[in-house]
């Protein structure tokens, strides 16, 4: 499907967040057609039952995005999948390394602060930096993984790569997190913090991509 339709400026009635999820996951040229189909059906349902129409819309988004994700993985090819897995692993190790050698120092600093409002500020800054660092790492790893396909920055700023990376991280955290011993527990806990950070990073770069029309 090579053609794409730029939407006219007509106010959409369907849930904005659900639309955003669709736009983030579906290829751009397809997203417009699917959103149009959903909008058409949604408006017809909304007149009769507004609440159930919203539930219907979300359900459609959830069941419609999985075939696209599956298709993307199937069409990626073994080399690209291998590259993605390797990059995810390297990205994961980089995050862990960063966490152990730099952020852990930060954690010690936080631990030595006296109780009070200052501690809250220091903790907030520490976790904000940690969150930001992981999000950026996820986006850059995604860009590297899909480098040969479309170009580094386009991929780094697209939702596809980061979402795929998140899924891989989730898988890896489950595998690694099987044990409750020392370092493994630490890695699992850090991964649990890294996941929402990566997700946030992915969504932020999707917004940036849409705004900058990359």
């Amino acid at each position: 499907m090579a053609l794409s339709a730029e939407p006219e400026h007509v106010r959409s009635a369907s849930p904005a967040l659900a639309q955003f999820v669709l736009k983030a996951i579906l290829p751009h040229e397809m997203a417009q057609c699917v959103l149009g189909d959903f909008e058409e059906a949604y408006r017809a349902k909304e007149i009769r039952k507004p609440v159930s129409a919203r539930l219907w819309y979300w359900r459609q988004v959830l069941i419609s995005t999985s075939p696209f994700l599956q298709m993307r993985i199937q069409t990626a090819g073994p080399v690209r999948i291998g590259l993605l897995a390797l990059t995810a692993l390297l990205g994961y190790l980089a995050i862990i390394g960063w966490d152990i050698y730099i952020a852990r120092g930060g954690a010690r600093f936080v631990a030595t602060q006296p109780d009070g409002p200052e501690l809250l500020v220091v903790r907030s800054i520490y976790y904000a930096l940690y969150f930001l660092g992981v999000a950026v790492a996820g986006a850059l790893a995604a860009g590297l993984a899909f480098r040969k396909h479309r170009g580094f920055w386009t991929n780094a700023l697209s939702g596809t790569g980061p979402i795929a990376i998140i899924l891989l991280f989730l898988f890896m955290s489950r595998v690694i997190g099987g044990s409750t011993d020392g370092l493994l527990t630490y890695l699992t806990m850090r991964t649990a913090i890294a996941l929402p950070a990566l997700l946030s990073g992915a969504f932020l770069v999707v917004i940036a991509r849409r705004r900058l029309k990359l």
Binding site: M1, L3, A5, P7, E8, H9, V10, R11, S12, A13, S14, L26, M30, Q32, C33, V34, L35, G36, D37, F38, E39, E40, A41, R43, Q60, I63, S64, T65, S66, P67, F68, Q70, M71
Partner: protein, 107 residues
């Protein structure tokens, strides 16, 4: 038959629906028609991924239609079965006929 020129079950359903709907085949219409006939909810996402695959096989073509306010200003994408898709669909139907020959009597 090689893998590239065979059709899956859902591909057959979608192609047959395109034949039936003719010029009016787009996402919602295809979904509604299939649901009405096989009594199973079919996601628009599944239909579009199947159509994308069929387009890559040369079985369907698509074109953009009009953008309407009811669709939030977005255009419909109309799909049509190609001669190749038509031939492949008939070939698949014939193969099914042979598989079920003597077992099922078609109405």
């Amino acid at each position: 038959m090689t893998k590239s020129n065979t059709l899956g079950e859902f591909e057959i359903i979608v192609l047959a629906t395109l034949m039936r709907l003719g010029e009016e085949a787009y996402g919602n219409r295809i979904s509604t028609d299939i649901e009405g006939r096989i009594g199973r909810m079919v996601s628009v996402g599944a239909i579009y991924t199947t159509l994308t695959r069929l387009e890559a096989k040369g079985c369907v073509t698509s074109k953009l239609g009009e953008a309407t306010a009811e669709r939030g200003g977005r255009a419909k994408r109309y799909f049509r079965i190609t001669a190749q898709g038509d031939a492949l669909l008939r070939q698949s139907a014939e193969a099914f006929g042979q598989v079920f020959d003597g077992i099922i009597t078609w109405p």
